[in-house]
Amino acid sequence: MPSKVERWKDETYGMEVRDHLLRFAEEGWDAIPEDEHDAWFERFKWWGLYHQRKGQESYFMMRIGTPMGRMTPEQLRTVGEVAEEYATGPVENPEFGDAYADFTTRQSIQLHWIKVEDIADIWDELESVGLSTIQACGDSWRNIVGSPVAGRDADELIDVWPIVQELHETFKGNDLYSNLPRKWKVAMTGDRRGSGQGDINDLAFEPAVKEIDGEEVEGFNVNVGGGLARKEPRFARDIDVFCRPENATDVAAGLSALFRDYGDREDRFNARIKFLVDEWGPEKVRSVLQEEYVDYELPTAGEGLRSEYDYNAGRADSTGDYIGVYDQQDGQNFVGLSVLVGRMAAEDVIELADLAEEYGSEMIGLTQRQNVIVGDVADDDLDDFLAEDLLDEHSPDPHPFMRGSIACTGTEYCSLSIVETKNRMVRYGRWLRDNVPVPEGVEDFHIHLSGCTASCAQPQIADISLRGMKTRKDGDAVEAFDVGLGGGLGENPTFADWVKMRVPADEVPGYIANLLETYEAERAGPEESFRDFVADRDEDELAALADSEETSYEDPYLGNTKMTWYPYAEETAMDASPAPTDGRGEPLPSDD
């Protein structure tokens, strides 16, 4: 029997949801029938709107999908202006103020505290500069990820930007693919860095070369069925297909149609294509694709570039991100700036857009490490650009612990999260910077903090993985983390080994300090990366590397932040929430 969500989708889904949203925007929150809330909130996701968690009723997270994280300075400025005007809530965040934009691990933008009454105006502003919230959430083609500097990066095989634009235009708003059994995440990589992180996507195009009819052809190997969620992590499986660039749209159409037709619509927990690949095996995926969905003979896989990958690969000989200054093919430079936990104040977003424009940049890029890139900075302008005040806050040369920190949304807004995340990661980063010596030779150290098993911060592929949990301390329930070590992508993708379970959140910095002290003392030398150091040890040895302990670090969020209506409010109790509110933010009368 199809799941309830499938029945709601059968009634109304996809493009037609837009008209309903515009009607609700016109008529107000109260116009959404109370006994249809669940169905409508599920449908709204397709247009990038996600109802915030309990205690924040009537407020939405809005996600803007930017293919490969790529924007113009004008688009970035519009994001900042929309954030400033519409994404302010009843209470300020103590670390980030009252208006900000979140850059996500899938190169999208999230704004919070959005009211349904403002949606038409927001869409007008976004769409006037070519931005959209279409299919940013929901069961369809999500934002396509890849290197934002494709076509600029001097270290690439294929410029994938034209192909990604074609995929984006083909599969956004396309009724044939608008209602899939579950989300469909696609990555396309053309560089030699592996920056698309295709291994953790439903469909991955990885750069490859293949000799066909005596000619060496550049294209992609196709992998299917990666993903990290629900303690069921999978790397995308090789289905032994080489794809020429001109065939990418056909192959992508075939595979997403295969998922549409054969994916599980009865059990949403079993719906992602990774489970279909488990069940069928990659050989059957290939044969069904060949026989039912493409009309040309699929070549077998070519020679990939995986041995060159360094993006989030934990290598000692290369940093694994885009932070810093890099050469472009045209002789100019792109500059990667650190955005701690991916959250940038709205005024900084606008200032960055202005700066980029001032320096002649035509491209801003969001990376999967929640950072931002400014492209097209000329050699002659580089020193001036690097000296700009904004780069003191968002640095191209940040401290290694600040540089490598990623965090998901957490209990601030998210229904699934078990723990507070972003503010805590900021505090962890500061404490580590101020108190823990950086092991010699380490330039970026990746700590990924995720609030739950949904794994939005990609915790399994980090040097240190933190996954939200609870424990008891002196009898009281406190927020905690399971700790994993040694994950990463690159030539040999590896998920973290979970070595310490249920560490109280206030003892995590002490654990990391002790762990790095052991690493510095026991590693073979600076050429042994932390990831290699972990790989060389068995489970018992890893568990014995370090103990957790309290330190001078103080954690203001140790209690159950999920019990609050907003963790940083003065009065945090659920019944102190002003929600739901009307279009002006005024509390609506309660039914009770």
């Binding site: 309830k4 669940d38 059990d267 949403r268 229904s415 078990i418 609870k470 249920r502």
Partner: protein, 151 residues
């Protein structure tokens, strides 16, 4: 009176259909629960957002991240499990009660898995208002099963 079968995912009673719990109700596993006749009421229950919360009559009522004390259970060896709810796997009405199987782990011993059916709360048959149980108090999973075969 037809009772919708309880499926493995998102079982629900369609809004607008009055459901009267009969003296005997059979669920999808073929287990039988016996209870008194109850007045007619309409209840829609769903688990949503990847099992993050349970909706009762389109109102978000029960969240993940609570700790539940479980007694007389088979979830783990602990006499009194200290169970962290990480995701609602199945949810179903049982008369006026709303019950669920929850994925999570015992934070005492670390065992993880899915619980037997737990009562999340009860819908007042007169007003339709849902009253949640207190997770931190002690709960006995699988009560429906035991009621079906009293000692």
């Amino acid at each position: 009176m037809v009772i919708p079968p309880l499926s493995c995912d998102f079982p629900s009673i369609t809004p607008g259909i009055a459901v009267r719990r009969p003296a005997t109700v059979s669920d999808a596993d073929g287990l039988t629960a016996v209870g008194p006749e109850r007045p007619a009421m309409t209840t829609a229950v769903h688990q949503l957002d990847d099992g993050a919360w349970v909706s009762v009559n389109d109102s978000r009522e029960v969240n993940v991240s609570d700790l539940w004390r479980l007694a007389r259970h088979e979830f783990c060896p602990c006499q009194l499990a200290d169970f962290l709810a990480e995701g609602f796997v199945e949810v179903a009405p049982d008369g006026a009660d709303v019950e669920a199987r929850i994925a999570g782990q015992c934070i005492q011993c670390g065992a993880s898995g899915v619980t037997d059916w737990l009562t999340l709360g009860r819908v007042d048959p007169e007003t339709g208002v849902f009253r949640a149980v207190v997770p931190e108090s002690t709960h006995v999973p699988g009560r429906r099963y035991r009621l079906a075969a009293p000692p």
